[in-house]
């Protein structure tokens, strides 16, 4: 069995890291299904900045087994289309046009966190995934996009379905993509309705901005708005849940670390970076295609071949960082692949960082004597977006906000 299959095995979910050493021995390795798996830091970074690598699956040699009906979002497109759509989306989210969007959300994030943690009081046991790590990012992305939070039950299962059907691997891809497509389709129909409404009566949210903005480069078509909104709604919370849950898990396993973080709240800044390196919510970038023969790491990836980047293995590459398998708060110059790199660098990174910093600091500060009820916790099935399904903790009390 090749290493990729072993990593994808649900039994490996709690600790995929033990396979990465063997994986990195061949930096670029051909898997049974024809995928080229890249696992060393330098090679991953090189490919993230290599214009011969496409993010558009339609460039695959194995003619697409399933022609999607949906307009791809920018995550599945290449420049210049990717750049245009990302720029148009960024206009309502960050620099250069809206640099203060995330900072302005900070008080709201803190208030939401406070009320979520308040609700943990009066008992000694809680599931931090269900009760904190999930609801916070959902509330934030809903507010930002302009999606009514009451509709959460409508999109929750669909978003999960889309995430769980992400690769990597080619074997059951057609099947997975069909399932994903169906779920995306339904999410799209829901968001299309909202987008239309916002187009007619704009409010102060991203959906309205995307629908109404027209500039020198034009604007987005409604299809483009919908595919962007589907992407942001899903990516806006499915990854942050894992960052928060992986964070608490990592801290709770290390009481001395918890102590240090409690004593020095500023340390949450390097702590979240180290989490992104050590327990990254996105373990693989699973959908790239070589446009030309690319010789790298002693192997030639042929044009048209699928390429998977093992980001989590790269961030723990001993050729890149010292003692990579240790969680080290004091790492100088922590350069990691937690949010990818190159033109597809995570769109929502500042949001995820800020949310994780706030939630983790508040949990550390307010939970009295927290401890894990189960270690390892049960995991969500996806090997790509990896994180606990539940994180049950026991505690002695909840300090006031």
């Amino acid at each position: 069995m090749d290493i990729l299959k072993q990593i994808l095995d649900p039994a490996a979910r709690a600790d995929p890291y033990r396979f990465f050493g063997a994986l990195r021995e061949s930096p670029v390795a051909l898997q049974d299904d024809g995928t080229y798996l890249v696992s060393t830091y330098r090679e991953i970074v090189a490919l993230l900045h290599d214009p011969r690598i496409s993010s558009d699956r339609r460039n695959l040699d194995s003619a697409a087994p399933y022609e999607p009906d949906l307009h791809p979002s920018f995550i599945g497109l290449d420049p210049p289309e990717h750049d245009r759509l990302r720029r148009l989306a960024m206009r309502h989210f960050g620099p250069p046009h809206a640099p203060e969007t995330v900072e302005r959300l900070r008080p709201k994030m803190l208030a939401l966190t406070t009320s979520l943690i308040d609700a943990l009081a009066g008992r000694n046991r809680a599931d931090l995934v269900e009760e904190v790590a999930y609801p916070l990012p959902v509330a934030v992305i809903c507010a930002l996009l302009g999606v009514p939070e009451e509709d959460e039950p409508r999109f929750h299962a669909l978003a999960d379905e889309v995430v769980e059907t992400l690769g990597p691997g080619e074997e059951d891809r057609a099947e997975r993509e069909r399932a994903r497509e169906a779920a995306s389709m339904e999410l799209s129909r829901y968001l299309a309705g909202l987008a239309e409404a916002r187009g007619r009566e704009p409010r102060d949210d991203m959906l309205s901005g995307l629908m109404t903005y027209r500039g020198p480069e034009g604007g987005m078509t409604q299809d483009e708005v919908v595919s962007t909104a589907v992407l942001l709604l899903i990516a806006g919370h499915e990854t942050t849940i894992n960052l928060i849950a992986n964070g608490m898990l990592t801290f709770l396993r290390r009481p001395e670390l918890l102590e240090r973080l409690r004593a020095e709240p500023d340390l949450i800044i390097p702590a979240v970076e180290e989490l992104l390196r050590y327990e990254p919510p996105v373990q693989f970038v699973s959908s790239r295609v070589a446009l030309d023969d690319i010789t790298i790491g002693g192997t030639t990836i042929p044009a048209g071949a699928p390429v998977v980047l093992a980001m989590a293995a790269g961030s723990r590459d001993p050729g890149h960082v010292a003692h990579p398998d240790e969680f080290d708060l004091d790492r100088p110059r922590n350069e990691h692949l937690g949010f990818g790199g190159g033109v597809h660098y995570c769109f929502g990174a500042p949001l995820a960082r800020t949310e994780a910093q706030i939630v983790l600091n508040e949990l550390i500060r307010r939970l009295d004597n927290p401890r894990l009820a189960a270690d390892p916790p049960p995991y969500r099935p996806s090997a790509v977006l990896r994180g606990p399904r539940h994180l049950v903790v026991e505690y002695d009390g909840v300090a006031p906000a």
């Binding site: 420049p79 250069p96 500042p350 960082r353 800020t354």
Partner: protein, 531 residues
């Protein structure tokens, strides 16, 4: 607190702008920032620095949550661990070298000699955020990345170097002995050749913090028109600032286009369009023949070589730089208008072309051979080169022969003008053809790749910095030109065109060398100074 962004590394991810919008700002990809933000922004800046995906943001050591244990420990027990090291020139290269010496485990005595009174500061902001008023000129001090524990002789120019006697001579008569010395005295602005005209009130040059403060004041006063002599990077950046301040500006350039000397005519044409689109009155193929007084010692305007005149109350002479080598005149080193020649290990070369042992060179003043460019000697007035060379020089100063490093980094340069982040990697003038591989000038964003005799030698990006490191690797491995690979967004402007680069510049009039003697044992080179 103090901040500096290594814009050589920065790829324009904008994470810093999200997290500290009061300190970092961005126009498209051009990043500008306050180097000394107020204490209230500390937490924001810490978040920004931690988030930078390429870790390009450097802070004062003292601003960090706590000095990371271990990070301060010397990296290697170097052989030259003690003794006396003197650094002459206390700016970017000098300051960085001092830090690296300590990082490398140098425990001996360290002396820094600088003719400016201020602590080392950063120059690139002087023609950008300082001139717009976004950042006050005194807010440009470089962060102290580590404790250097050095004797600081600031405000004291060095006037001579006695290589055999191992002494630096100072203007105040003092002599400072050394075991090893680093020469990092950089360059100064080339003055207007007519001293009387150059002294007119309203005529400026820009190299140091005082220049920037004075020019900022002149621009803030709202002159009727600013005249800029020279459309290299500095002149073009100042023109950009003028337009941002809504000041009428005329740029006079001898060459066929702005940035021509650094990037050739193809990109020069793009730069010319950029300037004109922003309302610059750009006159290429033209020179200023005289600066004119109003009769009271104030600038009134200028006469141009095409017979026309320009009325302006502020003129900036941006005609390049002159290397600060006069103090080395009797040192016996190969120091002249070209700079101080050194080997790839930053060791100075003497007049005869022999490598010396204890004299090292770094930064704008250095002239070194680059293997990637046929071992041609080059001087790079680039921020990134000063930093890289300072690292190499400092390391080699405390390492034995077997552990020395060569300075082989591919040159990277950046500039921010008219809201565009311009970057280059390699040596764009080392080229015969150019091709646009990604984007296009019409879109305002592109990658242009330069080739010389069938291999890739350089790339220039406008707002596409993220791709640069790919092209850097292509340069390093001498990949074929024109690039023949299929890639994203390719084939927009497929065909290579002539690069139209300047004839390789012959060093201007100044010191030259003559060789005397017959036997190998007595043949010697010596400098001839013009009068």
């Amino acid at each position: 607190m103090r901040v500096v962004v290594d814009l050589t590394r920065c790829q324009g991810y904008g994470q810093c702008v999200f997290l500290a919008p009061d300190v970092f700002t961005m126009r498209d990809e051009a990043l500008l920032y306050d180097l000394q933000p107020a204490a209230e922004h500390r937490e924001h800046v810490l978040r920004a620095a931690a988030a930078c995906p390429v870790q390009a943001i450097h802070l004062d050591r003292t601003a960090l949550p706590m000095p990371p244990p271990g990070a301060q420990e010397p990296r290697s027990a170097a052989s030259g661990g003690d003794g006396r090291i003197v650094i002459v020139g206390a700016s970017l290269a000098g300051a960085r070298a001092a830090e690296v010496l300590r990082r490398e485990g140098f425990t001996g005595s360290l002396t820094m000699i600088g003719d400016e009174r201020r602590e080392p500061y950063d120059r690139p902001p002087l023609s950008k955020q300082v001139l717009t008023g976004q950042v006050p000129p005194e807010h440009t001090l470089l962060p102290r990345l580590r404790e250097v524990d050095a004797e600081l002789l600031f405000g004291t120019p060095a006037t001579g170097l006695d290589v055999a006697g191992k002494r630096v001579l100072l203007a105040d008569g003092r002599e400072i002995g050394f075991d090893r010395v680093l020469l990092a005295t950089g360059t100064r602005a080339r003055p207007w050749p007519d001293a009387a005209e150059g002294a007119l009130h309203g005529v400026y040059t820009l190299r140091d913090a005082r220049d920037a403060a004075e020019l900022r004041q002149a621009l803030a006063a709202g002159p009727r028109r600013v005249l800029i002599l020279g459309a290299g990077f500095t002149g073009s950046e100042i023109a950009s600032v003028c337009r941002e301040l809504d000041l009428p500006v005329t740029v006079v350039e001898r060459g066929p286009a702005p940035l021509f000397n650094a990037m050739g005519g193809v990109i020069g044409d793009v730069a010319a369009r950029l300037q004109r689109d922003h309302g610059v009155d750009l006159r290429c193929g033209t020179t200023v023949t005289a600066l004119e007084s109003d009769g009271n010692g104030r600038l009134r305007g200028a006469r141009l070589s095409d017979g026309s005149t320009v009325e302006a109350d502020v003129a900036v002479v941006a005609l390049g730089s002159v290397r600060n080598v006069e103090w080395l005149r009797d040192s016996g080193l190969a120091a002249g208008v070209w700079g101080v020649t050194c080997d790839a290990g930053c060791r100075a070369v003497d007049l005869n072309g022999l490598v010396t042992d204890d004299v090292f060179v770094a930064g704008d003043i250095a002239r070194f051979p680059h293997p990637l460019y046929e071992y041609q000697f080059m001087s790079l007035e680039h921020w990134g080169n000063a930093v890289a060379q300072a690292e190499i020089a400092a390391h080699n100063m405390v390492s034995d022969q077997a552990h020395r490093w060569p300075h082989l980094s591919v040159p990277v340069f950046w500039s921010s003008q008219f809201g565009v982040n311009i970057k280059s990697v390699g040596v764009p003038t080392f080229a015969d053809q150019v091709v646009f591989t990604q984007g296009s000038p019409e879109q305002g964003r592109f990658v242009a790749v330069y080739g010389y005799q069938g291999r890739i030698t350089a790339a220039v990006t406008f707002d596409q910095a993220m791709w640069l490191e790919f092209y850097q690797r292509q340069i390093e491995r001498a990949a074929p030109f024109p690039p023949d690979f299929r890639h994203v967004g390719g084939g927009v402007d497929g065909e290579p065109v002539p690069a139209r680069v300047p004839e390789r510049l012959v060093a201007a009039a100044g010191a030259t060398v003559v060789v005397t003697g017959h036997d190998p044992a007595e043949r010697r080179a010596s400098l001839v100074h013009p009068h």
